[in-house]
């Protein structure tokens, strides 16, 4: 506590504060831009295949989808509680809106800590089955994969508190 610099009382802070703020803004914008990157299906599938260590929780969502936003805190909590799980929030927004900035602004506003990626594909009829045959395409949907034992579960509905942990334990054994 005593080592903390009290910038409000320092005369040098008049210069330091705006500098610090602009630096923070630059840092946060650049890191968010990296997080919510566009991805094609082939690369997304390669990412899933190449994850050898961690169980993967993959949530398909969109900024316009109310039940998706309701369940987002469950994934954020899981991200905080379980560093052994890899979480990805895959935005489907580009299926309706070619501009990905809305997703990035949303991620910044909600201060999401989970990895967010934006799927950049057209013509869902061609790729939905490649992600999951059981998926109708409705949002929200969640896929949980354990590459170590080949187990996977898929749920096409909004999840409630406690359900993610149960699903994870199903693919763990």
């Amino acid at each position: 506590m005593s080592e903390r610099i009290d910038i409000t009382k320092s005369s040098k802070s008049l210069v330091a504060v705006p500098l610090l703020f602009s630096l923070l803004i630059v840092l946060s914008v650049s890191s968010l831009a990296q997080e919510a990157r566009l991805i094609h299906l082939s690369q997304f599938q390669e990412d899933i295949r190449s994850e050898k260590g961690k169980i993967q929780v993959i949530n398909f969502w969109a900024t316009w989808c109310a039940p998706c936003l309701k369940e987002l805190p469950l994934f954020e909590k899981l991200k905080a509680d379980r560093p052994d799980i890899r979480i990805r929030l895959v935005s489907m927004d580009m299926d309706l809106d070619p501009n990905p900035d809305k997703v990035r602004r949303f991620v910044a506003r909600k201060k999401l800590t989970s990895e967010v990626i934006i799927l950049d594909e057209r013509n869902p009829n061609k790729w939905i089955d490649q992600v999951e045959k059981k998926w109708s395409g409705a949002l929200p949907a969640t896929l949980i994969i354990n590459n170590q034992n080949g187990k996977r579960v898929f749920v096409e509905r909004e999840l409630h508190a406690g359900e993610l942990e149960k699903l994870i334990s199903e693919v763990s054994q």
Partner: protein, 193 residues
Amino acid sequence: MLFALVAATPELPGYEVGDKAIDFKLKNVDGRLVSLADWKDARGYIVVFDCNTCPYSKAYNGRIVALQAKYSSLGFPLVAINANDPESSKGDSYPNMISYAKKHGYKFPYLIDETQEIARTYGATNTPHVFVLQRKGSDLQVAYIGAIDDSARDANAVTRKYVEEAIDALLAGKPVMTTRTKAIGCGIKWKNS
């Protein structure tokens, strides 16, 4: 555990292409009950599970109106059904359906599936979700299930008009080439889910 999850999942298996579909009697936005059998001369039907609130439904609204304009006179009337639970989606309440249909100039019935039984029986999952039915005597046979076309975000970028292709084939007495498609969409808001 797996069984418990399956039981908790709201969808029944639903129809496959070729299945016999049931008729229904659902309340329209004008207060009257509507059945498919009301159209005595229909050769088939375009049944669209739709709603007021989904951005995909909004993106397709003009295309749904156009489908009705093009095909009702050819013997394929269009019927829209809203199965969303108004408890979890207030914008889909019956009074909101009435004003939505009025605002968008619907010339087709917009029915409320209050018990969600028809959506479940058909296997509708998202909105808009289309079932093209062909009339065979007194039976209704499912001829196509899926999306209206292959480009939700841009009607000008459509390369496949799935529903039109299916009905055009039926009208010409030819087999439907693409009988089932998938699309991203808003999940139907089921009760107690």
